[in-house]
């Protein structure tokens, strides 16, 4: 602990000094703080509204003011409603989403780490070519690939299957690029040399020495990949029509189409609101702890997922 205090750099001290508020600034500070708090309400409003709305029955949604609690809290009634609506597929979708996101992110992290590691730590023929291919592909909009990817999945007989959703997303160019950059920075080649001297094979070095060293980068990419596949909508939309395989966003979207469809009974507003709430809950709760990892990865790669 004391070591980290003594390494407090000059810039750190300057930064603290720079941040000191002088009395003359007080008025400006108050104005700026008011603006920032107003902006915060903008960002929080839909989430607060969603939370409050989970306590309202279908008719309360229309009859009570937007941010007011209803006279009778129907949170558990809504929970029951969402669990049983449409044959009770909601929790199945939840499990599907967890499954898609977990498998995709674990495998993608491993695949992209190996690729990034090979390009960062080995000299081999085709290394430069591979790297430029990956960089170039970051500029290609996904739209150009939609139709052929769909046809390819169809050709491979992976329509309406877990593989069909998972496999196309595994080789992320962003992932390989990010891991490559990270490994170059965080993993000194001397560790590999000392492993070799001790008689370890390349694979042993990779698993036993390198992976533990680059763990923070692995966590970052894992999280970005997890969120990316948790949010994935377009590919499942194209290749799934068996509702038992839907991930949450697709399932909820299908529910939302019942709102305007004639003859599908009472519009499922309450179900969709509760379903949305349940599907963003885990990430919102974990986000304060994960923010730092996610931000550092985004910044070094800087690619919209």
């Amino acid at each position: 602990m004391s070591a980290s205090n003594s390494t407090l750099g000059i810039t750190q001290l300057q930064r603290q000094n720079h941040a000191r508020v002088t009395p003359g600034k007080r008025m400006t500070t108050i104005v700026v703080m008011i603006v920032l708090i107003l902006v915060s309400t903008y960002f929080l409003l839909p989430l607060v509204w969603l939370l409050i709305s989970t306590t309202k029955s279908g008719s309360d949604l229309f009859n009570t003011p937007m941010l007011a609690l209803p006279s009778h809290v129907s949170f558990f009634a809504n929970l029951h409603l969402v669990s049983t609506y449409g044959g009770g597929t909601f929790w199945r979708w939840y499990l599907n989403s967890v499954f898609y996101a977990t498998v995709t992110s674990v495998l993608s992290t491993l695949i992209c780490t190996m690729a990034g590691y090979a390009m960062a730590k080995y000299q081999f023929k085709g290394r430069k070519f591979m790297f430029s291919l990956i960089l170039g592909s970051l500029l290609v909009p996904g739209a150009a690939l939609t139709i052929p990817t769909f046809l390819l999945i169809k050709f491979l007989g992976m329509m309406n299957s877990y593989q069909g959703v998972i496999i196309p997303g595994l080789a992320s160019a962003f992932g390989a690029y990010f891991m490559n950059i990270y490994i170059q920075e965080a993993m000194p080649s001397e560790f590999m040399d000392s492993g070799r001297v001790d008689g370890a094979s390349d694979w042993q070095i990779f698993w036993r020495i390198s992976l533990p060293i680059i763990r923070p980068g692995l966590v970052t990419y894992f999280l970005i990949s997890f969120i990316g596949s948790w949010n994935n909508f377009f590919l499942p939309l194209l290749i799934l029509n068996n509702s038992a395989l839907f991930p949450l966003p697709l399932g909820l979207q299908v529910w939302s189409t019942y709102i305007t469809q004639a003859g599908s009974g009472v519009p499922p507003y309450a179900q969709i609101i509760m379903g949305s709430f349940l599907s963003i809950m885990p990430m919102i709760v974990l986000f304060p702890f994960l923010r730092k990892y996610i931000a550092s990865g985004m910044i070094s790669g800087g690619i919209k997922m």
Binding site: L36, F62, A118, M130, A143, T146, F150, A171, N231
Partner: protein
């Protein structure tokens, strides 16, 4: 040593095979598909005919027009809001920075589909919560935020909510990597906080601004999720955005060949738009590079990476 030489290829193999299969191959296959057309039940080679059709397809070009207009609005609101927030949070005027950084970035944790649905509900006349504010500006008459005329602004708002904090995070990290000495010097010269933000921080953010603008251009031209979700609450034209048109061309009308040609054309338009943007911003690049060099000297890491901020920078 011989085995060691194979190792990098073995490590690269899983990625390479999947990348080849699900990126490179679809890319070229898309072009191949676009050269055919289904005539009287069988697939025929038609050369570039699909592209000629596309050039005079007003449905396609009007969708391009929509997303260009949308892109300008979106870039202004998302990037500007992100930048202003980052500059505020980097100034000495604000307390509780960690809290604001978290709140602004929080929408990143919400799937785009769910964000669009939440806002769709907030816009809905039936649920009526936000509308009353807008009625005030319309002389007490009610405003339908989901009507065709207002749809684009409603989408810009959703996207701003989703991505402003993301861009703020990028800008904020870039600002944290700048050397504090510059501000000290400016302060001694008599600059106040706003002048420092405007004259020193903003010019140094240039590479990051260029970078986020490119992402913004690519993202705007590909707009799909938000209009697609809103189409279950209101009527959205099937050719509202190029991607929506491409989707409907393939999956509602079953014309995969023409759809592939449109995809390719959209990718091309995106590429050209990015290049035009880069061309107009690169004039100032030499000046910017000089400033960047000054900033680089003070960086913790010597390793220059593709993006302007190094890995593990303070965020």
């Amino acid at each position: 040593m011989h085995r060691g030489r194979l190792v990098p290829y073995m490590m690269l193999a899983p990625f390479f095979i999947l990348f080849l299969g699900f990126f490179i191959y679809p890319f070229f296959y898309s072009f191949y598909l676009s050269l055919f057309a289904t005539r009287m039940g069988s697939s025929q080679f038609v050369g570039l005919n699909n592209y000629f059709v596309a050039f005079s397809d007003s449905s396609f070009w009007s969708s391009i027009g929509t997303v260009i207009y949308y892109g300008v609005l979106q870039a202004v609101s998302v990037l500007l809001l992100g930048m202003i927030l980052a500059l505020f949070l980097d100034s000495s005027l604000v307390k509780g920075k960690a809290f604001f950084r978290l709140v602004y970035f929080l929408p990143y944790a919400v799937p785009g589909v769910i964000a669009a649905m939440m806002w769709g509900f907030l816009y809905s006349p039936e649920l009526d919560p936000l509308l009353k504010i807008f009625n005030l500006f319309n002389g007490g008459k009610s405003v339908d935020l989901l009507s065709t005329g207002h749809l684009i602004y409603s989408i810009v708002n959703i996207v701003t909510w989703e991505w402003a904090g993301y861009n703020m995070t990028l800008y904020f990290a870039a600002l944290t990597a700048l050397p504090v000495e510059l501000y000290e010097a400016a302060k001694i010269d008599g600059c106040n906080e706003f002048q420092i933000a405007l004259r020193i921080k903003l010019p140094l953010l240039r590479p990051m601004i260029t970078f986020t603008s490119i992402l913004s251009i690519i993202g705007s031209l590909q707009l799909f999720n938000e209009p697609f979700i809103l189409s279950s609450l209101t009527s959205v034209p099937p050719n509202y955005t190029p991607n929506l048109y491409i989707y409907n061309m393939a999956f509602s009308y079953g014309n995969f060949n023409y759809s592939a040609a449109l995809s390719f054309l959209l990718a091309f338009v995106t590429f050209v738009a990015s290049m035009i943007f880069l061309y107009f911003t690169s004039g100032e690049q030499r000046r910017e590079r000089r400033l960047q060099k000054l900033a680089d000297r003070n960086r913790r890491s010597q390793n220059q990476v593709y993006s302007p901020v190094e890995v593990g920078g303070q965020v």
